[in-house]
């Protein structure tokens, strides 16, 4: 499957990666030099150009996870790509959640004097982070792919609920955390501060997208590897026994590389690249026809 042109998928991720880098650089430039210090907060306002964007991307990650989980749970839409998207969203969301807590803590130390306080928004964000760690631990603990996807989907919905409550926490509860900075139509920041803040959303948004795309690809590659491992595992299992009944051909979709071993009495094996492996054993029983067992990848 070698082609001379770069696959479109790689082009997308390269474009995302470079533009994210550029946008982050712009954010740093505007944030640290161009935009003025705040009347009230002084230099510490520059956190405005990191923290809200990071927090929003954290929500985006868990939101993506929730949508993908619903798609997995929906009978007609079920497909492994939703599960891959869900875990990509959750992991990237967890990373951004940690970044939110860290940047928020630094900003809190700077402007409130404390590293942490137990107000509603901070507490809910901490709960969200703990929930995401639980989600990832659960995924690691369950081996069967379909069961893993179903159970983690349900947890993802709970995380989404927490995101919603967290977002409205500054409205619903009396909190120390400041309220919405960007209520339309009259935002509370202007000029360069507003511009830089909006640009930071773009920058971190691109970064988020790039990370999700890569995590998704990682998951797909793992799945392809697993499909090959299933083939090998089946062969190994069959050969555990004594006289093996029949040769068994396992066709795994989209699997490369193929494992072809010459088996006594079997016909010329399938070539590489078609994705079939011939499981060994002499064909030595009354049921002699080779049967194809489809092993869907997963």
């Amino acid at each position: 499957m070698r082609s001379s042109r770069v696959p479109s998928h790689a082009l997308l991720s390269r474009a995302l990666g470079w533009s994210a880098l550029a946008a982050l650089a712009v954010d740093a430039w505007w944030g640290l030099w161009v935009s003025p210090p705040d009347v009230v907060q002084g230099q510490f306002v520059r956190m405005l150009y990191v923290h809200p964007a990071v927090a929003t991307m954290c929500y985006a990650g868990f939101g993506l996870c929730a949508v993908a989980s619903i798609a997995w749970l929906w009978p007609r839409l079920r497909s492994p790509r939703w599960d891959r998207l869900a875990v990509a969203g959750a992991e990237v969301g967890a990373v951004f959640c940690a970044a939110t807590l860290i940047t928020g803590s630094i900003w809190g130390r700077a402007s409130w004097g404390v590293w942490w306080t137990w107000d509603a928004r901070l507490t809910l964000t901490a709960i969200l982070f703990a929930l995401s760690l639980g989600y990832l631990a659960l995924r690691r603990a369950i081996a069967t792919p379909s069961a893993r996807a179903t159970v983690s989907s349900m947890v993802a919905l709970l995380m989404a609920l927490t995101v919603v409550v967290d977002h409205y926490a500054t409205d619903w509860f009396v909190t120390l955390h400041q309220g919405e900075t960007l209520p339309v139509p009259s935002p509370t920041v202007h000029g360069w501060q507003l511009a830089t803040m909006l640009e930071s959303f773009v920058a971190f948004g691109l970064l988020f997208a790039w990370l999700v795309v890569h995590r998704y690809r990682m998951e797909t590659l793992e799945e392809r590897y697993d499909a090959g491992a299933y083939t090998l595992a089946l062969r190994s299992r069959r050969s555990e026994g004594g006289s093996v009944a029949a040769g068994l051909t396992v066709a795994a979709k989209h699997t490369t590389p193929a494992v072809v071993l010459p088996g006594a009495g079997a016909g010329a094996g399938a070539g590489t690249g078609t994705g079939t492996g011939t499981l060994g054993g002499a064909a030595a029983s009354s049921v002699s026809a080779q049967r194809t067992v489809e092993v869907p990848a997963r």
Partner: protein
């Protein structure tokens, strides 16, 4: 012969470990079928697959006219499974346990008493907590719970293990009665006495497959097979993916030695190294005791 169950190329996984690696089996109605095979051959997994407790990854299956992967909810109440464990609540008495099983099956309460009488657990034995009963007596309680439900398909996993002669006799009697009333019995057993005394047919399992499980059928007959359609659809979906970077070519593998009837398992190790050593993770700890 009418078939209670039919498997063709059934594959089932636990994580990445194949419990069943292409099992073919026919089970006729009213027969007592014995599964023979070494430990780890897949006997327990096959029984669980017949019960609809183990979803199939690939292959075709039909049990009592239903697809065990898709229609498990409808199939399971018609199956009775007696595994290595008895499935009892230790703090409750035999009578309470059987009554619970009957209530859970939505059957009339009287069945509990009849079943306990049949297995000889009456009076004091029926009303002490199960924890105080001997292993043989606990088996009898579990047997009574099955009897009370009277499912059309009985699946037993090494039921004679640890039983004395009297209990074995009782068990054999009960199973023969079940078969004579049209029920089907499939049991996994190491015990040669069982094979001779009880079974109408015996098949051997090895390496996750059944070696001689297929009954000859006249062309064109046979029940409709359920395909694990929903499962397949759920597991499809790699098409339409954007192109991924090319994976490296498969490394050249050394020639496998001529395979005698028992293929050399060491072949796997060459492949193992070539694929980066992931295969050793294929056997999770918890399945090493699965028969």
């Amino acid at each position: 012969m009418e078939l209670s169950a039919r498997f063709r190329s059934a594959v089932a996984f636990a994580g990445q470990y194949p419990l069943l690696a292409g099992a073919d089996l026919d089970v006729g109605t009213g027969e007592i079928l014995v599964l023979r095979g070494a430990n780890g051959a897949g006997k327990t997994s096959l029984l669980r697959a017949l019960a609809g407790l183990l979803p199939l990854f690939a292959g075709e299956a039909m049990v009592l006219g239903l697809d065990p992967t898709v229609d498990a909810r409808r199939l399971r109440p018609q199956v009775g499974l007696l595994g290595h464990h008895n499935g009892l609540y230790e703090e409750l008495s035999a009578e309470q346990n059987v009554r619970f099983a009957v209530a859970a099956a939505r059957l009339p309460k009287g069945r509990a008493g009849e079943a306990l009488d049949r297995v000889g657990l009456t009076g004091r034995l029926a009303s002490v907590p199960v924890a105080k009963l001997s292993a043989g007596q606990r088996r009898r309680v579990a047997l009574a719970a099955l009897l009370a439900r009277r499912p059309p398909l009985w699946l037993l996993d090494e039921p004679h293990a640890g039983l004395d002669a009297e209990n074995r006799e009782l068990l054999d009697q009960v199973l023969k009665e079940v078969a004579s009333f049209g029920g089907t019995v499939v049991l996994a057993s190491h015990d040669e006495r069982t094979w001779d005394a009880l079974a109408t047919r015996a098949v051997t399992m090895s390496g996750g497959a059944v070696l001689d499980g297929v009954l000859p059928t006249p062309e064109g007959s046979g029940p409709a097979m359920g395909q694990a359609v929903e499962l397949r659809k759920a597991l499809e979906g790699l098409e339409g993916l954007p192109d991924l970077p090319d994976l490296p070519d498969a490394p050249d593998l050394p020639d496998a030695p001529d395979l005698p009837d028992a293929p050399d398992v060491h072949d796997v190790h060459h492949v193992h190294e070539a694929t980066g050593g992931q295969l050793h993770q294929a056997v999770p700890e918890e399945v090493t005791n699965v028969a």
